[in-house]
């Protein structure tokens, strides 16, 4: 697992000081990510690789929004791996999700 930390640089860059946009983005991230993590875990439990790949794809965009460039690359590789029927990247991905959740919990 790499040491990079989530940040709001991208959101702030896009907002140009537009507070409403920043709040809207954070609110969407805070409400959607926990649901997506649950969906991810459910599919993992059932070993549904295609569905796991779908939800990883969805979360991938949030990873990039939070400025996690290296983790984004790992998620791209993990999504590909899942479509090939493998899930070696699961533990790292789960750690990443926890990192993102904690960050959003304090943002």
């Amino acid at each position: 697992m790499n040491s990079e930390q989530p940040n709001l640089n991208y959101i702030k860059e896009l907002s140009g000081g537009d507070q409403e946009f920043e709040e809207k983005m954070l609110s969407i991230l805070k409400s959607e990510l926990p649901e997506e993590i649950d969906t991810y875990k459910n599919h993992v439990e059932k070993q549904e690789f295609k569905q796991i790949a779908e939800i990883v794809h969805k979360i991938k965009h949030k990873i990039s929004i939070l400025g996690l460039e290296k983790s984004y690359e790992s998620a791209v590789a993990y999504e590909k791996e899942l479509l090939e029927g493998d899930m070696k990247g699961h533990t790292d991905f789960l750690e990443l999700l926890t990192k993102m959740s904690n960050f959003l919990g304090n943002a």
Partner: protein, 239 residues
Amino acid sequence: MNCLIIDDESTARTIVNQLCKSEGSLTVLEEFSNALQAIKYLNQNEVDLIFLDIHMPDFTGFDLIQTLKNPPRIILTTSDQKFAIDAFEYECIVDYLVKPITLPRFVKAVEKAKKFTFSEATQNNSNATKEEAKEEDQQLYINIDRRLIKIEIPSINIVEAKGDYILIKTKDKNYTVHSTLKKIEEKLPNDLFLKVHRSYIINLKKIVDIEDNSVLIEKDVIPVSSSNRSELMKRLNLL
């Protein structure tokens, strides 16, 4: 320039909307989270530009492009670089933005869209497609003895319900087809045809005269039910 945003992710829609605001010259008409809703909108409204996500469940961005007869300019927004090659297959695709999209890259894509003109071939194609569509709208294929027979819709005088069959009367010929009045009513243009009785649909242009409860279509007297009479009168060019 007006535009639509089509993306199943709300974060992505919010970001593109913000980028449109920052760019300054774009008016966002609507946002859609799925392609099917967008198709309905596109069939009824003029749109200059679409920001379109490729990876959507059930109906992808490419599916949407293939559905549209005359797609407007499209800028693809995607997390997957792997679709870039496919994008070159479509002339309407102006640019390809990989998420996370930055403002400078977004502005560049919009500039491209503004300068973009469809090639003459596409324009001609599009005109030809419109003409073809017009012609297709004027024709109806009916199934008789396992043969599909083409009927020019304007040549139909009357359609009469006859149990499990309908009788289609044209100027020169009559056809009996296994179908219902309701089914053929859906296929006929509303501006030309009217159901005047539970068993009859008539071509309004073929009316010779009208009496209290009937119309004369060529040599056929067709009953008009009292509930349909007022609609019939409304549709006529009365002096």
